[in-house]
Symmetry: C2
């Protein structure tokens, strides 16, 4: 297969035939069973490398009686214990600052990023120089698949800081020889209005942000009397939130900007996080580019893969990272995978609805599983919806209460309230209380929206 | 000389002898007259290149009857008309979006940045792929001169967006093989407090920001009960504001962090903007690395150089840029240059007080030239100064009034007011009105401080 070595060393001058929809045609279109056989060998190499170069993996595998050389089948691999985020935090506390799963010497570390949570101890990511180049090559390959080409402008409208999304988008666009406009986001003080001005002036073909931010940008453009379609965007790709696979959010973005919406993204820890990404020929859901990162969709209790067609939680394994290789990282996300003929010709499995929830975002109310994205998805179909809402879960005695505060742009609110109450009951299987509020009551997020407050005490799920 | 070609193509694997204080020893320590002779040849090359590859330079030089091949002396070069920012804005308006002074094809453009002003039309910078690599190499060379070495952590605490300072610092640190922590700044919501936590945790050797932001960071650290000295910073380098050459600001930063303070920076248009920068051995003021960018200090009317020892306005000429080469760009800044034996052994001229003002920041009150940095500089020496101030210039009848609103942390304010009024009179040569206000009355800037309001109508100086 093209450039299939470990550690990988990509040819930095390589570009595909401009007419080809593929960056590495063979790897992307080959018989999946043959590809999987090569991946299995690679997995063994990565496990051996991690075992030999980090006390984290050595201790973990010794304790579980796992010998990397014994992983000669995917069945064996599925019995390798998963890594949890909690283990990574513990490792960083015990081996500050970067933990004992870093497999390269300090001199190889190129960039430090991290989780951006405001509470608790954040996790640091230390990314090697060679890994950064490989990430750029992989993301360039996936951006090529979206239809972006050398010389295209790519506007990156997400904060450049701890958050890896913007950096990963930029690195890929740079390697693809695009004109990168690393605008950033989040500094307040009219920064979004300035983004509107620069987009209207420079008219890039490509655009990266979180879905919420794209919607916010469309609102600000309209306030500035500029139709977002005038930006002339062709390809808008997203990560950081599930929105780009939520049909109503997709449609809203497509309608506002007149561009193709592409969902991407696994986890920051897994960068190249675009290893799950749609393509120009298969724009719905996300393809699992199995030769970049190995994606399993697993039962959240046993961490064995579920059959195609079924729902489970993604578990990810790096095939190229040397600095912090993640081997069976448990995501806690929820998805469903299928194996079908993809219109783009790539022979990868696909997540038709993207990654649509998190095990720990999902909450139970009166025994029903509630996914916040389902509420969002439904509200965006309602005529007169004001654009934001909040969900409050509380307990009154032994009874769970679900309250949804909804912005309403209609002058007459009674009908709106009734429609929403009954619509949500259909979607959720239980009747929430609805409180109608005015448009712009809630903050528009410049980054990931956080809409759910759970006021009940609750116990943490065990899987990490 | 080492790697002295045009267009330049640096050896990306090169690193100096670890014991050497120099990156390119010969270029940095050679006889300055010999170096200048080589620079003059290079200037002719760059002018010929710009003339042949852009209608902007062709038209400008044809109009002024300048033939690049005739520039065989610096005397001839000093008669080449300067470029003004106004000309660049006009060029971008007439040739959107990037102007007709871009000398490379669109496919060579790697990054788009721009001025971040909130009023008026911003100027876009389009930077070529080869130029970006050359910028990184030049900045790495200057960071090496500051004492940073491969493997050192470098925390970049300025916004990553249009502003080029953070990107230039990062590119240099990456090329030097440092561990770069591109934290950014400016997103509000506790981002500075998080920077404090990450600095305390990762303890990098190097740090980049604007001087105001470093002072803000020290304040926030103290609020968080962390002594900024615990970050263990060794080298703090700055650009974006004159503060790092203002003795009182330098001292405040040095005292707070216990690190060496290094001033750098010409103009964003001139990136590699660190071509004016101090070194570990010559930490005061800024050396003019004349073989990276050609710096002239000129009479602001005639644009002929002033003798060493005298004050003038910097005029800059790129020696390596191919995408937007600036040839005699008028800065509108103010400085004084000297040619002395530098303790670090580099044979460059030096700006002993850095770049301390702008022609257009300087204002006249009752016939006296007032530089805002002089006010800042003085106030920081006053016991009990609350950390911020504002300057308001107004006209009452035919009389100019200068009002300084000063934050005061003393419980007794009368003595403070008298001391400041008399101290400022000594510094400025005129007596301002003083209004004492409480600490934290004024916004702490997360970026460049803007402290002066001139309420008089005033005419613009002609030089652009």
């Amino acid at each position: 297969m093209e450039e299939w070595t470990f550690p990988v060393q990509y040819d930095e001058e390589y570009l595909p035939d401009p007419e080809s929809p593929y960056w590495f045609e063979q790897r992307e279109t080959m018989d999946p069973q043959e590809r999987d056989a090569a991946v299995l060998e690679r997995i063994r190499e990565v496990m051996r490398y991690a075992y030999d170069n980090s006390s984290f993996y050595k201790n973990k595998y010794d304790e579980a009686d796992v010998n990397p050389d014994d992983i000669t089948s995917f069945e064996a691999f599925e019995q390798v214990p998963v890594i949890t985020k909690e283990e990574m935090r513990t490792s960083q506390t015990e081996h500050p600052p970067f933990g004992d799963y870093v497999c390269v010497p300090s001199s190889e570390i190129h960039h430090i990023h991290g989780t951006s949570g405001t509470t608790g101890t954040p996790t640091a990511f230390s990314i090697g120089r060679g890994d950064w180049a490989a990430i750029a090559n992989n993301h360039a390959r996936i951006l090529w698949g979206m239809g972006l080409r050398p010389g295209d402008g790519v506007f990156v409208s997400a904060i450049f800081s701890l958050y890896l999304g913007s950096w990963g988008a930029m690195a890929g666009a740079e390697r693809l020889r695009c004109q990168v406009f690393p605008f950033g986001a989040g500094a307040g003080g009219g920064m979004t209005a300035r983004a509107v001005q620069w987009l209207a002036r420079c008219r890039p073909r490509g655009f990266y942000a979180t879905p919420s931010y794209a919607l916010r940008l469309a609102e600000v453009a309209q306030e500035e009397k500029i139709d977002p379609k005038e930006f002339g965007l062709d390809v808008m790709f997203f990560s950081g939130e599930p929105g780009a696979s939520v049909p109503s959010v997709r449609k809203q973005i497509e309608d506002a900007f007149g561009a193709t919406v592409i969902d991407t993204g696994t986890m920051a820890e897994m960068t190249p996080f675009m290893s799950a990404a749609a393509s120009a020929g298969t724009p719905e859901g996300m393809l699992l580019w199995q030769d970049i990162v190995w994606h399993e969709v697993c039962d959240p209790e046993t961490f064995r893969t579920v059959p195609y067609g079924e729902e489970g939680t993604p578990v990810y394994t790096h095939l190229e990272r040397t600095s912090q290789p993640m081997i069976r990282l448990a995501s806690n996300d929820l998805t469903r995978w299928v194996m079908e003929d993809n219109p783009c010709g790539r022979t990868y499995p696909r997540l038709p609805e993207g990654v649509y929830g998190r095990i720990d975002d999902m909450f139970q109310v009166r025994g029903e599983n509630v996914y916040p994205t389902e509420i969002d998805n439904y509200l965006r179909t309602v005529e007169g919806y004001g654009g934001e809402h909040r969900v409050i879960v509380s307990r009154s005695g032994s009874m769970d209460e679900l309250l949804v505060k909804v912005e309403c742009g209609r002058s007459e609110t009674d009908g709106f309230e009734k429609e929403v109450a009954s619509g949500l009951q259909n979607v959720l299987g239980l009747r929430p209380a609805i409180e109608v509020v005015e448009v712009n009551t809630f903050d528009r997020s410049d980054h990931k929206s956080r809409r759910v407050t759970d006021e009940r005490e609750h116990t943490q799920r065990g899987s990490g």
